[in-house]
Symmetry: C2
Subunit: 283 residues, 2 copies
């Protein structure tokens, strides 16, 4: 049987293998400087950190190690957001993975976890919005330089995530018991066919549901909302893509515009992990 850390790594691989996944690297699409193979190397590199989480190490240090290993490839940030979901989920899986187990894990995070999270930004360039001026001391780009501010204010990693909601769909998962991750898992389980195809379909449904927060940060709310509406037009109520050709053309369109709904892909990776770990799917 695959271990929780192996399931997490496989989730990262299945996520990038699904196609069409409009705007993102997938089995059929590379971006200009970000290739499919960078995601393969990123998933393999994340292994040690994922294994730390599975063996009960703190979320922060496990995440930092996972990001450090993930970043050992030339494509830059491939799976930062996905790992921020997977690490607490892997840790939660040690006693049976459930939404309440995941809630306990994030509720138990400490200031030390928050400091390690900030250190993770020293290993890789992550796109972030400019913080409000009064939050400058807590700008993630400060890396370990933010440690005194975190300690002074006594902020745990959950507190840090709390401050990023609602503008960050990954942080939102931390505050909602990983609601959308578990929803994606259920959708993947309910679908048929190769798992990577189901993941691509779940990606489109999730994209149709809420604006992608990475797109919103990079290109503005309006673009993110438009992408959501376009995805919605392409999905039916049951979540299956209506017209594969139309989805392919939407995918090409987003790639050519450089619009990359990366946060929605992170949710799909988390959903794949839940589905694998709870044996909702066979592979």
């Amino acid at each position: 049987m695959r271990s929780a850390s192996q399931n997490a790594e496989l989730a990262l691989l299945l996520e990038v293998a699904g196609t069409p996944k409009p705007g993102n690297v997938d089995r059929s699409r590379d971006l200009e400087d970000l290739l499919f193979e960078h995601f393969l190397a990123g998933a393999v590199g994340a292994q040690d950190g994922l294994r730390m989480a599975a063996s009960g190490e703190p979320v922060g240090r496990s995440f930092e190690r996972a990001v450090e290993g993930m970043a050992e490839q030339g494509g830059g940030n491939t799976q930062f957001g996905a790992l921020l979901l997977l690490v607490p989920l892997v840790k939660a899986a040690t006693d049976g993975l459930s939404r309440s187990a995941a809630e306990s894990v994030v509720a138990d995070t400490t200031v030390a976890d928050a400091k390690a999270f900030y250190r993770a930004f020293e290993h890789v360039d992550v796109f972030v919005s400019e913080p409000d001026p009064e939050l400058e001391a807590l700008d993630v780009r400060r890396g370990s330089g933010a440690a005194p501010a975190l300690e002074e204010r006594g902020l745990t990693l959950l507190d840090v995530m709390d401050r990023s909601v609602p503008g960050d769909a990954v942080a939102r998962e931390w505050l909602t018991g990983f609601e959308r991750s578990f929803d994606v898992a259920d959708r993947i389980a309910a679908a048929r066919g190769p798992v990577a195809d189901r993941a691509a379909s779940a990606f489109l449904t999730a994209l149709a549901e809420r604006p992608d927060t990475l797109v919103a940060k990079r290109r503005g709310e309006e673009t993110a909302t438009n992408v959501m509406k376009q995805a919605a037009e392409l999905t039916r109520a049951d979540g299956d893509a209506v017209d594969r050709e139309a989805v392919e053309s939407f995918a090409d369109d987003l790639v050519s515009q450089g619009i990359n709904p990366g946060t929605t892909a992170d949710l799909v990776a988390a959903g794949l992990f839940v589905a694998l770990e709870n044996e909702l799917i066979e592979l």
Copy 2:
């Protein structure tokens, strides 16, 4: 830095990601019951056995464990031959990977390694030829049942491989200091572009060089020789594919005929590992 076992796993992933890889599952092609995602799961599953080899455990037991984990997916045998190359190479990498280090590792194999190799066949269906009647006691399909015959004759795993040459290109690597694996590594290093593309190109060159022994076992020597000649027509002296469209059409043709040059893919996986481990390529 990636560990040797991580490089081996990444080699398995990059191998299957290369396209076009005529006749095999690749980034663009699934076979009927053997999907891209089965190879992803096989690579992740092989992890524990690869890690055993990296930490100095015997080749036989590491290989058996790698195969057992690889087989935990619904596609059947995905990477048996590749692992039979990777496990000794990973073990050889502990003191700096070279052909002579690999030769020492296989020369040091024992009867216990041979017995573990036979046990590996109990975890997965591997295509093998009918043995000569006098070798029936050593038919690999006997699994652990062959142990008394192995002990009686004092056969090490290298001896077992020796008896499979020249009909098996993987066994031939064991007897030649992994000659073709290191050649493939050099070709991948000398090429340009995404690593997975270079691997696909190296696959075609290797296919043009010698008949694929899996094709020979399954479909006869003549078919294997024809496939080799067709591949040769598509490659130039420098190993680059002349005409991508012609290679794609050759790939479709082999898939539709059910001709699957799996042993050549195994050599490419081994070559990718050597190239990654000896830092001949960056990714």
